[in-house]
């Protein structure tokens, strides 16, 4: 068996998500090679070579990979994949975008968002917003997999000494081009890796009121998240959304404030170690998954919490 893990990065650093995909590859067994495709991303390849358990890193450094557009990157994966039994990427918007395109070009199925490796050909994946878990066995000779990062520990970023091999990258498909990226707030704690997350829902009533959550978050070293209703209402930007169609996170502590606990929201946070719900409706479904529930008006409870910390 041999695994190829597609490295997610920003041309400077390896994304944490990739370390979790490497762990899934370790559980499958066999050699692990990494593919780094980007522009002026030599530093990424060097860092990738240090990840524990990696045999070799393939580096495709070319302007056409600079923004990880699906068309060029999928073409590259198709060139590199033959010979590997498993090709993996994290189930982030990066992996979700490119992997199915590569899989179809290879005429292989994709196994999306695995949460467990049962054996080299058998995996568990959530369906129906995580209300069911399906165990599936693949008959493809190359298994194309995306990995739900929270269900696999991060591999050690140091300790490996893989070789770096520079590879070519084929022609530019010219099908798409990158224009811009809006990043709202860089100095906040990253939602996907935060140990503590405090999320607000429709009950917050406005974007300004999220300031209350930011104050608590600053004291706890926490990230701020949101329900879809809060994003749809324009209180906060889309990258804060937790749930079936947003981010799936599993912090040590998740505090849901003014969130009812719809199936689709629970899908993104129910693996959290400890869940706290603050809601003035004692019937809200969020209380069914909460370890600690507080039935209270958030506009009184959150400032009190802030003062108590």
């Amino acid at each position: 068996m041999s695994n190829l893990v597609i490295v997610e990065h920003d041309n400077n650093e390896v994304a944490a998500a990739t370390l979790h995909a490497v762990t899934a590859a370790q559980q499958i067994g066999g050699d692990i090679d990494l593919l780094v495709a980007g522009e002026n991303c030599g530093a990424v390849a060097e860092a990738a070579a240090k990840i524990a358990g990696v045999s070799s890193v393939k580096l495709a450094d070319d302007a056409k990979f600079g923004h990880h557009l699906a068309e060029n990157l999928a073409t590259l994966i198709v060139d590199v994949a033959p010979g590997y039994s498993h090709v993996l990427a994290s189930a982030t918007t990066f992996g979700k975008n490119v992997m199915p395109r590569a899989a179809a070009l290879l005429d292989k199925a994709q196994i999306s968002e695995i949460v467990e490796v049962k054996s080299p050909d058998t995996f568990v994946r959530p369906i129906y917003a995580g209300n069911a878990l399906a165990t599936v066995q693949s008959s493809d000779e190359i298994k194309m997999i995306t990995v739900r990062t929270i269900m696999f520990e991060a591999a050690a970023a140091e300790g490996g000494s893989a070789s770096v091999e520079v590879i070519g990258g084929g022609a530019d498909t010219g099908l798409s081009s990158w224009v811009s990226q809006a990043v709202s707030n860089n100095d906040q704690v990253d939602l996907t890796s935060a140990k503590i997350v405090i999320s607000g829902g429709r009950g917050m009533q406005s974007g300004d009121n999220f300031e209350m959550l930011h104050k608590v978050a600053a004291k706890l070293g926490a990230a701020v998240g949101a329900s879809r209703a809060a994003v749809d209402s324009g209180f906060v930007p889309n990258e804060l959304q937790v749930g079936q169609t947003g981010k799936v996170i599993a912090p040590d502590l998740y505090i849901a404030v003014g969130i009812s606990g719809a199936i689709q929201h629970l899908a993104g946070m129910k693996e959290s170690k400890v869940i706290v719900a603050i809601n003035n409706d004692s019937e809200a479904p969020i209380f069914q998954v909460a370890d600690y529930g507080l039935v209270a008006d958030l506009f009184e409870a959150v400032p009190e919490l802030d003062a108590a910390l």
């Binding site: 699906a70 917003a129 066995q137």
Partner: protein, 249 residues
């Protein structure tokens, strides 16, 4: 330009999925079914493109058995011009679905394919990406804004880091995110009108494609539930529990 909108019939998002006692799958008998919400966003966008004059004809297509027609009728009631049902009782995987719909897109000579970004039943999030590959077209996945101008489209995509803007060459395959638009409500006269709109049925076998599944589902089970929690009476008690009992702050 003609557009193909691919839609899927799924369990209503408000209904909690129940796993069958024998572990063979999710129980859909008598369950409330609807058009996948993301597919509705895809169709709504096509309707708006037609209203703006960018699109002339909207074809809705779906692959599935008996009641799939109901979902396509809903698409016609929303405003699609005609429907194509590729009939099969088998549950095909996204790769097979992509092969089928690619063939329909080519037969119909469409210049644009719109799908939902994921179906809320199997949560695969693959079909649009796979269709783009098989057609050799550009890919615009997870769209929350679409502007088509001539042979190019400018897309805003919802990605983990925020919003990314890309430009794709037409023809293209786009997958809709929920914030792309607010799908319209269907009114009774639209439902009546939809009954008279054309509905083609194509047998899957007649397409001559390799649609064999690559995955075997061995078991479907319910995830372990969380242990029951407690209700605290004050913020003070909450902070005390988080510090001394859960030890998370």
């Amino acid at each position: 330009m003609k557009v193909l909108v691919c839609v899927k019939r799924v369990l209503d998002p408000q209904v909690k999925a129940r796993v069958k006692a024998d572990g063979s799958g999710v129980d859909l008998a008598n369950a409330k079914m609807t058009m996948n919400p993301f597919c509705e966003n895809g169709l709504e966008e096509a309707l708006r493109l037609r209203e703006a004059g960018t699109v002339e004809e909207i074809i809705v297509a779906s692959v599935g058995g008996g009641k799939t027609e109901e979902t396509l009728r809903h698409g016609l009631a929303m405003g699609a011009d005609r429907a194509i049902q590729v009939v099969t009782e088998e549950a095909l995987e996204p790769l097979a679905i992509a092969k089928v719909l690619k063939q329909i897109a080519e037969q119909e000579g469409v210049g644009l394919v719109l799908t939902g970004k994921q179906a809320i039943d199997d949560d695969s999030n693959q079909t649009a990406q796979m269709m783009s590959a098989l057609l050799g077209w550009s890919l615009a996945a997870f769209c929350s804004d679409i502007k088509i101008e001539g042979d190019k489209a400018t897309i805003i995509r919802e990605v983990d880091a925020g919003l990314e803007t890309i430009e794709v060459r037409m023809p293209t395959v786009m997958s809709a995110d929920l914030r792309l638009n607010e799908p319209r409500y269907v009114k009774l006269p639209d439902v009546m009108k939809a009954k008279r709109k054309p509905m083609d049925k194509i047998e899957l076998d007649s397409l001559g494609l390799d649609t064999a599944n690559r995955l075997t589902t061995l078991q479907v089970e319910e995830p372990e539930g969380r242990a029951a929690g407690i209700i605290v009476n004050s913020v003070g008690e909450l902070v005390e529990k988080l510090r001394n009992e859960a030890k998370v702050i």
